[in-house]
Amino acid sequence: MKSIAELQAIRDQARAKIAMREGSHEGTRIVVGMATCGIAAGARPVLNAFVEEIAKRNIQNVSVVQTGCIGMCQFEPIVEVLAPGKEKVTYGLMDAEKAVRVVTDHIVNGNPVAEYTVAKLMK
């Protein structure tokens, strides 16, 4: 059973991790569309897949944030990846499996997955 004592231990460990991250370079931002159109199209499992995969691989300095409708509802779930010093990459029609691939290829190895991008989907 999960307990408050356990949470206290997690807090103490997390403090050490946060201290280690401090001062390191600015990280990648993952932006998930969470308007009605995004949620209806499946944004929740996409978001939770990103969060889980990042935790599993112990990737530091990645923030996951939400945004509203960006006016391309037909391509929801939409996810934008903003890596420092790189152009923004916009992925469309995402699902949990694609999210895992974006983490491994794009976030970890720096290679955007061209076939999932909205630019490619529009062709």
Partner: protein, 182 residues
């Protein structure tokens, strides 16, 4: 929406947009009376009576170039389809409460779905806000209150991966014995 828990996630987004610092999500299953009640309450900026009239009117649209708001109409439709209904109460500067009711056994009632996934996503994306999740099934209650967690965590944010893992585990363990049929 394929799951009511997705409507809850969407309606909670309205609360976040309204600048709420506390959002209460409550699920109440009452099998004896065959009733399911979902409530999303916030302490955001609220709506004036005029705004409220417009939002309550399912045929109202301010559409000019902007798209029509879909969140509340979709939630209302899901409730009415299942023999229930939707009410909104709101006071400017105090907050808003959206309540949807459903006949549990109604054939057109959407499944509740992954409430833990909804709560987890809300906390993960809004670690600066507080969420109170209360789930009751025939008198048995599970509650998760981020204000209590915050007291333990002190300066450590709720969105830390290890903290989220603890939260997800707590949600799973807490909901299992409720044996929700929704």
């Amino acid at each position: 929406m394929r799951e009511l828990s997705l409507n809850v996630l969407d309606i909670a987004q309205n609360s976040i947009s309204a600048g709420a610092s506390l959002v209460t999500l409550s699920v109440c299953e009452d099998t004896a009376n065959d009733w399911l009640t979902l409530t999303i309450a916030d302490n955001g900026r609220g709506m004036t009576p005029e705004q409220l009239d417009r939002v309550r009117d399912p045929f109202y649209t301010t559409r000019t170039t902007r798209k029509v708001g879909m969140g509340i109409p979709l939630f209302r439709m899901a409730a009415e389809m299942a023999g229930g209904g939707l009410t909104i109460e709101s006071v400017v500067g105090v907050g808003t409460t959206v309540t949807a009711t459903f006949c549990l056994s109604h054939i057109d009632r959407m499944p509740l779905g992954d409430m833990a996934g909804t709560v987890s996503a809300l906390i993960r994306l809004n670690p600066q806000l507080d969420f109170l999740y209360r789930h009751e099934v025939d008198g048995n209650v599970f509650e998760l209150d981020t204000r209590a967690l915050r007291e333990v965590l002190e300066d450590v944010p709720l969105c830390e991966p290890d903290v989220m893992e603890w939260i997800n585990g707590t949600l799973a363990e807490g909901l299992l014995p409720l044996n929700s049929q929704a």
